[in-house]
Symmetry: C2
Subunit: 519 residues, 2 copies
């Protein structure tokens, strides 16, 4: 064990100046190059009603052989080959001649420089119609409220250890969201606060008795109000969980390889919901100002959650890892000496002080014992940080088969499928055509700061007429190109001669005050 | 089970406008009125060397029969009786004629209005000398560094379910802190960064080899620096844990009743460390400005930690409680209906979004099943909030015998003995004699806001000469009197006719720029 994990660390530490990849197929057990399956039909997820570029027919999927790109790219067989070419790394966008994405959304992507066989990012952009369940509230439907709701949906999925999870999520996650929203169609269209209790099912005793619709006013005085917004947040969170559970169920039958980060935007009834699970990032650039709409979930940012879990459930560490933190790896020759152990001050943050004091103890000198030689649960820093010496991202979908290298210890218990959801009220501000929401996988953000993105937004959009719908695609392309760089000196280099991103790069640019049609 | 906890809730909800007490002796099983033991001598905690009013001799403790007050009050038998009189509620302070507390600290206390037989608050104020362990760093001691360190120490302990834990903590916690600091005496006096590794013990192989003193410079480049300050924070945190463990060991032999909140101040080498575990509070009033130096740990502020623990370790809930949150208590007649369940938006805060998404799920409508009728792990609001329908404070010392009412389910796993430690650098600001650190048990803060305390600081101190050392005792007395009120209309009332605090009230006023002697 010690030698194995030590060499794993050596591998992590010895990588050069380029941003090291998150573990991908070559590093992981169980990673196969088997072709991803056609989009599995979720029993609970019938197909979306309306959609621009919704699921391709099964035959088309088969024709693509071992990989696929987003349907809205409308790639020909030749285009698909170019999109899969690591040497050329051609930037892909929807054709200017085709049907535009909703809201004139801009999109661009580029494949990695060779770190994995195919582009493991996936993307989805849909308009989804949600039909309400019949008589959810147990009373006859009010015809004036219409029949259902539409939401706009954008998703970026950054796969690792194979492309299967990202592809499955890109085809199905919005359907899970739709399923979760079905219960809420009537409630969200009713301006009064959501009821706390619904009758069991229409037609059962009590369903016609309006006293069962217990509203806030009839409950305890201590009761607080639930907002429509928080119901939508809950629906999105639960959809992520159901998507993850579906991957667990179907992983064998459909060869759901690896896992993926998921960054999703839902626009519904005037509000933009940004849900992030992983290390992709979303920012709004509004009048030159940067508004962060997500944060990354990595072994470093989630160190306390991971260590607390390891402390409370030591069986998950399998006797191979320790949740204790030493300032560096303990050497066998140091047995019997006393070393400082954490929590260290640089690991403290606000959530730490409120949480991990659960029983982890304060920093002190500790006599080194045999079990302290175990590998740390969280090791490395920055992009090199890993959970159990294996994975560099701590939230996302899939990874049900992920094991510690050369071991049978599952890592999934330490990963969370739940996103953090941030809400932006589009009606609270008069947006101009230059105000955009930018979504990018870590391939963009590894080499591009928020400020550099804002500068590119300004530079590119000012070169186009405000009503030119192609400006957002041009911006997405400029962002991808700026992160990829150009081939020079045996590598992809940025104008400042630093290394460009060798990762898959995918970018959505969503105009907030542009020529889009807001329903 | 249901009836029992339901009546417990009825009790909680039916209490009147006065701030309801935290559960004290009458509410709790295992609470006895046996006399507290004399301060047990901790095997790891030999007596403090220097101290103003350090531990009274055992005979004096016996003479006090069934209760005690802080030694520094120098109470005569008659004074002790007056201090124990619920009817008169006379304010107690150290005699003006006696030896002053260090730094001319002001202190005042008053007994409760009858909620428990004796005053269950305790206090301690000491100057503690820490002798370093011989040759901790494995090299001959540098004689120029002196022999040891002194720290100033103040502690407030708010007991519940008996006075034993508070009394034990007031006698021993500073000794645990001293023990923890012994290893650090040499290190804290050395201006260079603390070593990360110490030799095992003096005289063992390797101890004379300075290469074992691995400093930051010789370690991995990723290594960060440990500060002296963080070592002291760790020492205080670990002292709390050791104090709690000692209570667990000795609870039978010495009848350590109940538990206590602990609010502790350590002044060492220019810095003030404020450690809080419970619902006492410390604020600095500096030039009229309020600087919070602690926050309260209650079922409400720690809801997420508690629910996560209940989720990860459901066996701790004993089949009697649920970690799920409904907007109100579920009724048996609602079985089969669908009710919203949490996490609710009003429970979300920053630490929540980073933590509890571990798998608790998003808000949604859920079909009510039998197990949803279980009592919520956290119930009630504000001062009425309770863990497992029993206790209203979630951090502190003791409570090892605390069980759910009429049940054998232990509550201790949900309580944490770890304090949050905040540091204030006394050298970073030129303090005037009116700048003070105010410590108070919840008896003060239940009826007094931070701003009202700051106003009283200004009013009382301005009535005294800046160099009059009695002004801080006068201020402490004014704060206690202001929270107690005067007997009127069958109760203790404040000038605005609201109810005064019926709780024990204890206050320290520590001058930060007064006539105190800073070592």
């Amino acid at each position: 064990m010690l030698n194995r994990v030590r060499s794993a660390v050596a591998h992590l530490v010895s990588s050069g100046g380029a941003p090291p990849p998150r573990p991908k197929s070559p590093d992981l057990p169980n990673a196969t190059s088997a072709p991803p399956a056609a989009a599995p039909e979720a029993p609970r997820s019938p197909p979306a009603r309306a959609g621009s570029g919704s699921g391709a027919p099964a035959k088309a999927v088969e024709a693509r052989a071992s990989f696929s790109r987003p349907t809205f790219l409308q790639l020909s067989p030749g285009g698909l080959r170019r999109a899969d070419d690591h040497a050329g790394r051609a930037v892909q966008s929807p054709p200017d001649t085709g049907r535009r994405l909703p809201w004139s959304t801009g999109y661009a992507e580029v494949i990695n420089a060779g770190k994995s066989r195919h582009n493991e990012d996936q993307a989805c952009c849909e308009v989804v119609y949600v039909e309400g369940r019949r008589s959810v509230m147990g009373v006859p439907r009010d015809p004036s409220r219409g029949q259902g709701l539409c939401f706009y949906y954008w998703g970026l999925f950054d796969g690792h250890a194979g492309g299967g999870a990202a592809e499955m999520a890109s085809r199905l996650l919005h359907r899970h969201i739709r399923e979760q929203l079905k219960d809420l169609v009537e409630i969200l269209q009713d301006p009064s606060p959501p009821p706390l209790c619904l009758p069991s099912t229409p037609g059962t005793p009590g369903s016609s008795d309006p006293s069962h619709l217990v509203g806030p006013q009839s409950c305890w005085s201590t009761q607080k109000e639930v907002t429509h917004e928080s119901l939508v947040v809950g629906a999105i969170e639960n959809a992520f969980q159901l998507m993850d559970e579906q991957m667990a169920r179907e992983r064998r039958g459909h060869q759901v390889e690896g896992g993926c980060c998921a960054l999703v935007v839902v626009y519904l009834l005037g509000k933009v919901y940004v849900a992030n699970a992983g290390d992709s990032r979303a920012i709004i650039v509004r009048n030159g100002e940067i508004i962060p709409m997500s944060r990354e979930f990595t072994p470093e940012t989630e160190r306390q959650r991971l260590q607390l879990l390891g402390f409370l459930k030591p069986e998950l560490l399998g006797g191979e890892f320790t949740h204790l933190e030493f300032p560096r790896r303990v050497q066998p020759k140091e047995l019997g000496q006393r070393m400082l152990w954490g929590p260290f001050p640089w690991q403290r943050n606000q959530s730490f002080t409120s949480w991990a004091r659960l029983g982890v103890g304060g920093m002190a000198y500790k006599k080194i014992e045999l079990e302290d030689l175990r590998f740390p649960l969280v090791c490395g820093e920055g992009k090199k940080a890993r959970v159990m010496a294996t994975i560099g991202v701590t939230r996302g979908l899939g990874d049900h088969n992920l094991k510690v290298c050369s071991s049978n210890l599952p890592i999934k218990p330490f990963l969370s499928c739940f996103p953090e959801v941030r809400v932006y009220d589009l009606t609270q501000y008069e947006h101009c055509p230059d105000d955009v929401l930018v979504l990018g996988t870590d391939g963009l953000w590894d080499v591009t700061s928020d400020c550099e993105v804002a500068a590119t937004v300004d530079r590119v959009l000012s070169a186009y007429e405000p009503n030119d719908p192609s400006r957002y695609t041009a911006l997405a392309q400029a962002l991808v190109l700026g992160a990829r760089g150009t081939p020079r000196d045996r590598g992809w280099r940025l104008p400042n001669n630093k290394l460009g991103s060798g990762d898959d790069i995918s970018v959505f640019v969503i105009p907030l005050g542009g020529p889009g049609s807001y329903s």
